[in-house]
Assembly symmetry: C2
Homo-oligomer: 316 residues x 2
Amino acid sequence: MSERRIVALAGGVGAARFLSGLVQVAAPSEITVIVNTGDDRDFFGLRVCPDLDILTYTLAGRIRADTGWGLEGDTFACLEQLRRFRDDTWFQLGDRDLATHLHRSERLRQGATLSEVTREITLAFGLEIELLPMSDEPAATMLVRSGGERCDFEEYLVRDGAPDDIREIDLSAARSARPAPGVLEAIAGAERLLVCPSNPVVSIGTIRAVAGVEEQLRARGDAVAVSPLIGGAPVKGPVDRLLPAFGVEVSSTGIAELYLPIAVGMLIDEADRDEAAGIEALGLRVRTAVSLMRTPEIAATLARAALELADEAAGA
Amino acid sequence: MSERRIVALAGGVGAARFLSGLVQVAAPSEITVIVNTGDDRDFFGLRVCPDLDILTYTLAGRIRADTGWGLEGDTFACLEQLRRFRDDTWFQLGDRDLATHLHRSERLRQGATLSEVTREITLAFGLEIELLPMSDEPAATMLVRSGGERCDFEEYLVRDGAPDDIREIDLSAARSARPAPGVLEAIAGAERLLVCPSNPVVSIGTIRAVAGVEEQLRARGDAVAVSPLIGGAPVKGPVDRLLPAFGVEVSSTGIAELYLPIAVGMLIDEADRDEAAGIEALGLRVRTAVSLMRTPEIAATLARAALELADEAAGA
């Protein structure tokens, strides 16, 4: 294992799989992950942080395999009982999962920051890797539908099933949020900077929107990004339905344009090798790899390829 | 079923069993129960109201039979998971049970009163009987141990196992709490007033301590109380360890003296028939009955006996 200080920007499921590969090829104690909190919201008075929890549970080996979120073997007795009282029970909070949200919510109410309670939770799950929320302040991504109604990301994705009706993505909350302590310092001090295969708009774009983060990323300009697309389509999530609202083409090339100001290289799937020349013409180094992370071995190989590309770009 | 307007003062398990008898011999829609909230407290940021919940679950036929608290068939996945984060997990909150506390806590944070959310919860459980919290304001009973330390009732009863070391019972919070809307009116307007077989100090005594309640009860002076003792000992709970701290003898006679200012009659267990003459000498009408409520039929018989004694005292 190398001891390079690695910083990765991350969303949820795709990032979690990639990072579970990265911790096999780099020391977890040398990795800091800056995590999107734009999808966070309250359910039943409890603070739920979907991306932080997906990363924590995945890296702890406790993630529910069939969904990529929630805890393996979890039950839903509380949620079923809640239906007795209310009809807003569309977000699947398992009984074990609730413990995380209960503990976090009480600590936040006691005055702890999200960074502090995230550290407590990751330590309780035995993680050595550092997960930093992008901000300790509210930064909810809001979506504007074709009819003009606004909703938050979980309402769009989970409640409504991610329909193809997004007119605008409003990152203004992230723009007025200050980065959590350590975020700018981690980016500035990293030896290698990676962008996980996450949604470039509502995951990575939200992190970039936080005050000061984009400037710090551009000052380096040496990130290596892993495209979340395979054959021009997302493995999971609504990235193909959200890129157009951002004026971005649904392709690794479109995403490369989005990452150009902060990146030096990009890993794309072998299925998208036709795009390599075009992305190189934009000025990025490109490698192709198998990016569907069906096994921990494939995830490790993908992470190693990303690190090698970053090493190469750094002339190491 | 008679249609008399009945008001009952109630604590937890004993009261719940008695009331499940009362609803068999009187119309539930004509019964108002004024419930002790001195044992309420927060666990993990959730408001837990043990007596209100025991009564709700029992009257809904959903109570866990082996304990007298919690929901039948409940699981404890969330609580077990919480142990990952903290060591204050001594209060047994089941997964289904948590739904009640989650819903109540969010509604309270939204500004609903405990009375309002109690009505919502009892309706959601299909109850026709009215449960009124004694107060919508905090009214925690505090106990002073022999060493001088203070603790709340659940810490004493559940965390510490109700040891015999109570020097003082502090009802000052209840004394400065205002009665919930409808409490004084219910007492004033009742046709029959019953005191359930509950702890005379930390359940009934707490209700009596709420500002204005004792005056209203004394103005009537016609309550019929059911002794919580059988053979001079409690069926459940630490009443024998708490009465001495209140300067009260552990016997139905001791309890009769405590109830004398508000009562006209008392139902005592057949095992305590020796005490009947002494209690009558105090000025109360006395009946003996089987008060160990092992079956719904026994509970109904006991409730009928209490109502008959109240009718008789009223000259009905």
